[in-house]
C-alpha cells in the first residue's frame, strides 16, 4: 500500500487489520488469534496475533458546521465534542476539522486538549455542506506514525457543495486504510432515514460504524461511543501466503466458535508502485 497506516498495513512483513467484534452492540473481549477465521483474496490465512489495540489514538473530529446546524444543534454539538475531548487518554491526540462550504482545520493534530476545547467553544455555523470534500481532506491529513488514526465525521444532512464525488472519496478511503466512524443527526419526522447514502458507504468502505440520532441531545453519547468502539477493537496480524498480487484484495473475517458481529474493512488495495 502507499502510505503507512498504523491501523492497517500490507507489506512483505505482514498485514494488520482493525476488527470490531460486538454482540448486542457491546464489544466482545477475551478473544485470541485462534478465534478468528480470515481470508485474503479468497485464500485462508493464519492469524498470528489478535490483540486489543492499545496504541494511542489520533482522532480526527470532522464537524459539519453548515447553516443547518445553527441554534440548539450547535450547542449540543459543542457539548458532544467537548465530551469526546474529555474522554481522550494520555498519549491520544486530536485534530478538529470543520466544514460548511470551506473545509478548515482549526486545530491540527495535537495532544493539547485545551486548545481543542477552546476551538470547539468558538464554533460558528453558516454556509453549504461539503461533506465529501471534508472526508477526503481528513484522509490526507492522518499521520503516518505509529498511532492509530480514526476519523469521526459528524453531519446532519446532504452534501450540497463538494467538488469530489462519492466514488472519488470511497476510492480514497479504500486506499487509505483508515477507520472512519460517522455520527449522523437525522431529520425528525422523516422516518429517521438518512438523507444520503454516502455516510453509510463511507463507513462500510473503511470498516467503521455509523451512529444515528434524531435528537441532538444524544450526540454526546454517540461521540464517546465512537471513541469507545475504537478502543475495543482487535488488531489482527497475519502474513499473507498468496495474497501479494497488486490490485484489490477482498478480506473476510468471521469467528470460529463465538457468535458475534464482526466489522472490518472490506479489503485493501495493493498498487503497482508499492511492489
Amino acid at each position: 500500500m502507499h502510505g503507512q497506516q498504523a491501523t492497517f498495513r500490507a507489506d512483505v512483513a505482514g498485514v494488520n487489520l482493525d476488527v470490531a467484534v460486538t454482540r448486542g452492540g457491546r464489544p466482545v473481549r477475551g478473544l485470541t488469534a485462534a478465534d478468528f477465521v480470515l481470508t485474503d483474496n479468497g485464500v485462508a490465512q493464519r492469524v498470528d496475533s489478535a490483540a486489543l489495540e492499545t496504541l494511542p489514538l489520533s482522532v480526527f473530529l470532522v464537524l459539519d458546521i453548515s447553516g443547518s446546524i445553527a441554534g440548539e444543534k450547535l450547542q449540543y454539538l459543542v457539548a458532544a465534542s467537548r465530551a469526546l475531548v474529555d474522554a481522550l487518554k494520555t498519549g491520544d491526540r486530536i485534530s478538529l476539522m470543520t466544514f460548511a462550504g470551506r473545509v478548515a482545520v482549526p486545530v491540527p493534530l495535537t495532544a493539547d486538549v485545551a486548545t481543542a476545547r477552546d476551538a470547539i467553544d468558538h464554533l460558528a455555523t453558516g454556509g453549504p455542506t461539503s461533506l465529501r470534500d471534508a472526508a477526503f481532506t481528513a484522509l490526507q491529513l492522518v499521520p503516518t506514525d505509529r498511532t492509530r488514526p480514526v476519523v469521526i465525521v459528524f453531519s446532519d444532512g446532504r452534501d450540497t457543495a463538494s467538488w469530489l464525488s462519492a466514488s472519488d472519496v470511497l476510492g480514497a478511503v479504500q486506499r487509505a486504510g483508515v477507520v472512519v466512524h460517522a455520527v449522523e443527526l437525522l431529520e425528525e419526522g422523516r422516518d429517521a432515514q438518512p438523507s444520503s447514502p454516502f455516510l453509510g458507504e463511507l463507513v462500510n468502505a473503511s470498516g467503521g460504524r455509523r451512529w444515528s440520532a434524531t435528537s441532538a441531545v444524544r450526540l454526546s453519547g454517540l461521540f464517546t461511543a465512537a471513541l469507545d468502539e475504537m478502543r475495543s477493537r482487535y488488531l489482527l496480524t497475519y502474513y499473507p501466503t498468496s495474497a501479494d498480487r497488486e490490485g484489490w484484495h477482498p478480506l473476510a473475517v468471521r469467528l470460529a466458535k463465538v457468535r458475534a458481529d464482526v466489522t472490518h474493512r472490506p479489503g485493501y488495495q495493493v498498487p503497482a508502485k508499492a511492489r
Binding site: G101, R102, G126, R132, Q140, L141, D159, D168, G171, A172
Partner: protein, 339 residues
C-alpha cells in the same frame, strides 16, 4: 404610471408595517429621508445602515413622495433600500424583505428611460433570492423582468441559473464532479432548459461571458463534451478572472473524467492561478495525485490549502452550485446611481 404605483406602495406599507397600520406617527420628515438618499448618492457608505435603523413605518411614510420625485432620486432610493436589504439578509430576512419590497415599488415607478437600470436590477434581485436557495422567488423576479426585457442576457442567464439550481436540487448527491456527463431524469430536463436560456442570452450578446461559461458547464453535465469544450475555450479568454476560473475548472473536470490526468492537472493549475484563494482546485489536484498513487504529493496539496486557513474562505464553486448574490451587478447598480 405614478398613481397606481403609489397605491402599490400603500399596500406594501399596510401589509408590512403593523405599527403604521396601527396609526403610529412617523418621527422622521421627508427632508431627513431625502438627505439620506442624497448622501447615499454622494457616496456615504453608511447610508444603508442609517435607513435600516429607521422604524419601518417612517421609511414607508416617505415612499409616496420619493416615488414621484424624479428618476435619479428614485433609482438611488431603490438602491439605498436594496443595499440595506443585502446587509441584513443573513440575520434578519423579514426586515430585509420589507426593505426589498420598498425598493421594488420604487423600481416599478421608474420611467421607461431607466430600462438599463431596471433590467439589471431585476437580474440582481433574482440572484439575491437564489443565494437564499429560494428559486421560486428568484423565478418570480426573473419573469417580471422578462415581461419587460424578453431577450435580456442577464435575465436569461439568471433564468438558466434557476434551472441549474433546480437540477442540483433534483439530485443533491449529484454535485461537483459527481454526475458530470451522466445527468438523467428531471435534472437533465432542467439542464436542457438552462442550455436554451444561455443560448438566448448569447444570441443577443455573444460576449456575455457568464452565460458562455455556464453553457459550457451545462453541456458537459449533459455529456456533450465536444460542444462543452468549444464554449469553455471561449470562456477561458473572458476578461473576468472568475469566469476564466470556472472555464478552467470545468475543462479540468471533463479531462479528469476522460482519464486525461495531464490535461486535468494543467487546467486545475490554471484555475488556481485565476483564484488563488479557492479550495476546490487544491482538492481536485490532490485527488488526481492520490488516485495515481502519488500519496505524498496528494497530502502536500491538501496541506497547502489547509495552511491558507481563512484565506480560502472564498469558494466560487459553492456559490455556483448553490446560488449566490451577483456582487458585480450590485456594484454596477450602486455605481450607476452614484455617477
Amino acid at each position: 404610471m405614478v398613481r397606481p404605483v403609489l397605491r402599490l406602495i400603500a399596500s406594501v406599507v399596510m401589509a408590512l408595517v403593523p405599527a403604521f397600520a396601527a396609526g403610529q406617527t412617523p418621527s422622521r420628515t421627508f427632508a431627513q429621508y431625502t438627505s439620506i438618499v442624497e448622501a447615499y448618492r454622494g457616496g456615504r457608505d453608511t447610508a444603508p445602515q442609517e435607513i435600516a435603523s429607521w422604524p419601518q413605518a417612517d421609511v414607508e411614510q416617505m415612499l409616496g413622495p420619493a416615488a414621484g420625485a424624479g428618476v435619479p432620486f428614485t433609482e438611488a432610493a431603490a438602491m439605498l433600500h436594496t443595499e440595506a436589504a443585502v446587509a441584513m439578509a443573513a440575520r434578519d430576512w423579514p426586515r430585509a424583505s420589507a426593505q426589498l419590497a420598498v425598493a421594488q415599488a420604487l423600481v416599478q415607478a421608474l420611467p421607461a428611460t431607466a430600462e438599463t437600470f431596471v433590467e439589471r436590477y431585476y437580474a440582481f434581485t433574482a440572484t439575491l433570492f437564489l443565494a437564499r436557495g429560494d428559486a421560486e422567488a428568484a423565478r418570480s423576479w426573473i419573469d417580471r423582468g422578462l415581461t419587460l426585457f424578453e431577450y435580456s442576457p442577464p435575465l436569461r442567464t439568471a433564468s438558466g441559473m434557476v434551472e441549474e439550481l433546480a437540477a442540483h436540487l433534483a439530485d443533491p448527491e449529484c454535485a461537483g464532479r459527481a454526475c458530470a456527463g451522466a445527468r438523467g431524469g428531471s435534472g437533465a430536463v432542467h439542464l436542457a432548459v438552462a442550455e436554451r436560456e444561455y443560448r438566448v442570452a448569447l444570441a443577443r450578446d455573444s460576449g456575455f461571458a457568464d452565460a458562455r461559461v455556464r453553457l459550457g458547464r451545462v453541456l458537459a453535465m449533459l455529456g456533450r463534451d465536444a460542444d462543452a469544450a468549444t464554449e469553455l475555450v471561449v470562456a477561458a479568454m473572458a476578461p473576468a478572472p472568475r469566469i476564466r476560473y470556472f472555464a478552467h475548472l470545468f475543462t479540468a473536470d471533463m479531462a479528469a473524467r476522460m482519464g486525461d490526468s495531464a490535461t486535468a492537472r494543467q487546467e486545475y493549475q490554471a484555475a488556481l492561478a485565476e483564484e488563488p484563494g479557492a479550495q476546490t482546485p487544491y482538492l481536485a489536484l490532490s485527488h488526481i495525485e492520490e488516485a495515481l498513487g502519488n500519496a505524498v504529493r496528494a497530502r502536500e496539496l491538501v496541506a497547502q490549502f489547509v495552511q491558507r486557513g481563512g484565506q480560502a474562505a472564498a469558494g466560487p464553486w459553492w456559490g455556483y452550485q448553490n446560488g449566490e448574490l451577483d456582487a458585480d451587478t450590485l456594484r454596477w447598480l450602486i455605481d450607476f446611481v452614484r455617477r
